[in-house]
């Protein structure tokens, strides 16, 4: 018999965070989230002005067999005129009784909030881990994404979820032959559009102070119409800067600016430190910190965070500047490969650009949707 517990006590919080660490203990592809960040989120209840949140554990005979978080994203629902809850942090053993009980718990919570649909896995924003891995189970995860076992899609689909959208992921390696035309296009695109690349000849702190606000404004504009995205609130901006400050290497960013030094297009990449975190349990022990520092100092791979170009500059060749910038990282810093992370399958504008690299589509993720059957719970 599966028992569903709402996470309330410190013991529950610990169980909630530890469950995936136990489930994936021997999985070579899994990269844990940072333990401290997860604890902070759960201690705060996952609630803000714009969200309500709930966390559940599935137990059998006192032992944890699954977990899930439900998020009510009020701002998203208002803007998109939807009545949805999101699910995320879903982990389960291969047992439909467990996964069904978890989904039912979130559905009941959703009904109590007057909601009509459940979708996910989706976090608070597009910058959180999202999407269920449905293809590419023998590929390494990055820090930015959640690995899941091959049986998860069956658990989700058997509860009645259907595909809403897929994301594709690519592994990029430098092309054998240098594309001279690309460098020329990048140079000319900057000239024609009267733009320049932000100087990185300053401290990281100063760089962030100078460009963060216009970067976030541009992200909001570029991503406003993409699936699952919402404007990034001031609190989230502050949190994101904090989360990524340590791993940010300004030399691996391409910020394209106008004459007011505002970011109008960008390519955000980070050293790929997923490998350094594996087997750490997400805890920043001295050994993990050493591994992280080594990775940050001399990364062999980078993870592409986000790419964006303001609408007024789209189709004007700025993508060449971003691609050339990335190719420069490969060459100057000895980077061997880049993970694109999630590209919406419909975002052909960005996916078509990967042909300038050796690219391999190696993973696919899915966001699911389901109408909640209220009658089921009235019976």
């Amino acid at each position: 018999m599966v028992e569903i517990i709402e996470v309330k006590s410190k013991r529950d919080i610990k169980d909630f965070i530890n469950f995936p660490l136990k489930l994936y203990k021997n999985c070579p592809y899994f990269v844990p989230a940072l333990y401290g960040d997860e604890k902070k989120l759960l201690m705060g209840g996952g609630n803000t002005r714009d969200y309500e949140s709930v966390f559940y554990l599935a137990k059998k005979d006192g032992a944890v067999f699954g977990r899930i978080q439900g998020i009510l994203h009020k701002q998203h629902n208002e803007l998109r005129n939807e009545k949805r809850v999101r699910f995320t942090r879903f982990d389960s053993v291969d047992d439909k009784e467990v996964s069904n009980a978890l989904f039912e718990a979130v559905e009941k919570w959703a009904i109590s909030k007057g909601m009509e649909q459940i979708c996910g896995p989706l976090g608070y924003s597009d910058l959180d881990r999202e999407g269920l891995l449905i293809w590419g189970f023998s590929e390494n995860s990055t820090y930015e994404e959640q690995y899941n076992y091959e049986y998860y899609p069956t658990l989700v689909e058997s509860f009645g979820f259907e595909k809403e959208v897929d994301w594709l992921e690519f592994e990029l390696t430098p092309p054998e032959k240098k594309n001279e035309m690309l460098a020329r296009v990048a140079k000319r695109a900057l000239e024609i559009n009267k733009l320049h690349i932000a100087s990185t000849d300053m401290s990281k702190k100063r760089f962030i102070e100078k460009y963060a606000n216009s970067l976030f404004d541009t992200i909001d504009i570029c991503y406003s119409k993409l699936y699952g995205t919402m404007p990034i609130t001031p609190e989230e901006r502050k949190k994101l800067i904090g989360d990524f400050y340590m791993v940010l290497n300004v030399k691996q960013l391409v910020f394209i600016c106008n004459d007011k030094d505002e970011v109008v297009a960008f390519g955000l990449a980070f050293p790929a430190f997923g490998d350094a975190l594996k087997k750490s349990g997400g805890r920043l022990t001295p050994l993990t910190i050493l591994k992280l520092l080594k990775t940050l100092k001399k990364p062999k791979a980078i993870d592409l965070g986000l790419v964006g170009i303001r609408p007024e500059y789209q189709n004007s060749g700025l993508v060449a500047v971003i691609i050339q910038g990335m190719l420069d990282f490969f060459e100057k810093d000895g980077i061997e490969k880049c993970e694109t992370n999630l590209n919406l399958e419909t975002n052909t504008g960005i996916i078509s650009q990967w042909k300038y690299f050796n690219s391999r589509n190696h993973k696919r993720r899915r966001a699911y949707i389901k109408n909640i059957d209220k009658e089921k719970y009235n019976a």
Partner: protein, 73 residues
């Protein structure tokens, strides 16, 4: 003009079926040009016809490019 543009198309997208290109051929929909290929074509035009664009010009069809070039040259 059309023949000259066909030569440019071959440089930008090698492997393109240039024989099927007409004045009505659309760059994005028919030839599958992306933003980068459009920019590359503009630069090849600058080199071939020895002038500089003052701003980015996006042509919808090959005919549009021919008309523009005839007015510039």
């Amino acid at each position: 003009m059309l023949e000259k543009l066909k030569e440019i198309l071959c440089k930008v997208l090698p492997g393109i079926d240039v024989e099927s290109v007409t004045m009505e051929t659309r760059l994005i929909e028919d030839l599958k040009f992306d933003s980068l290929a459009l920019m590359m074509m503009s630069m090849e035009i600058e080199d071939a016809f020895d002038f500089r664009f003052n701003e980015f010009v996006q042509f919808e069809t090959i005919g549009d490019a021919c008309s523009y070039l005839e007015s510039r040259i």
